[in-house]
Chain length 133, copies 2
């Protein structure tokens, strides 16, 4: 049996769900640890640091629409949230794999999605937004 996450972690998880669903970019920085690590569905590299992740997720929020959270899975320190969403009119399914520190800030976020061809399209559109912002 796994232990219940602490109150700060549970609050952080609830805030993540709220923020993504509402596309609340303004509150995103408050939820991230300074050295948060992000691994996206399209590339192998990791991206490190709050400013980087704020920029990337800001662009993702412009392309990934109608996020709805489905199943939830837990470990001692983290969560997996399954979601459905739309990218340019095509439906995708994905997971957010989240780790939190004791203050309820996100320290690690890995996102995977299917199907892969829509992930490639999402990645291109996010890249274009970042290149022109």
């Amino acid at each position: 049996m796994i232990e219940q996450p602490n109150v700060a972690t549970q609050a952080g998880l609830n805030e993540w769900r709220r923020l993504v669903t509402a596309i609340d970019r303004d509150r995103l920085p408050d939820l991230l640890a300074e050295n948060v690590v992000y691994r996206n569905p399209a590339s192998f590299d990791s991206y490190v640091g709050k400013p980087m992740l704020v920029a990337i997720l800001g662009a993702v929020f412009s392309v990934l629409k109608d996020v709805e959270y489905l199943r939830q899975f837990e470990s001692e320190t983290g969560f997996v949230l399954e979601f459905s969403a739309n990218v340019g009119g095509e439906k995708v399914f994905g997971v957010d794999i989240l780790e939190f520190n004791q203050e309820g800030k996100i320290t690690d976020l890995m996102v995977m999605m299917r199907p892969a061809n829509v992930v490639m399209k999402l990645s291109e559109e996010v890249g274009q937004i970042l290149a022109t912002s």
Copy 2:
């Protein structure tokens, strides 16, 4: 706090980890419910039924090498297993999202992987194996 899975489910999970890591195709059918549903990382469609899944996973096992399981997450009825693996010399990360019935047989398997370009390559190779088998 989530409940501990029943003994059959836990045994099923352990058998899945063993079987994938050892590439034990012979024992795979025993672990699947008759109407198991499979959703892969590359396409949107679902595949239903034990014979279909045995064929597909048999091909996947030929292409996805050196699977190592990493983090594990739980819900009341299922699990998420994070893994790393190699596809044609390129490293991938993925998740198996597994649901079990009360007999410890897999009823639902969804797989997602990153990065997406390697998923496309994996999908092509699996398709070729299935087309020629």
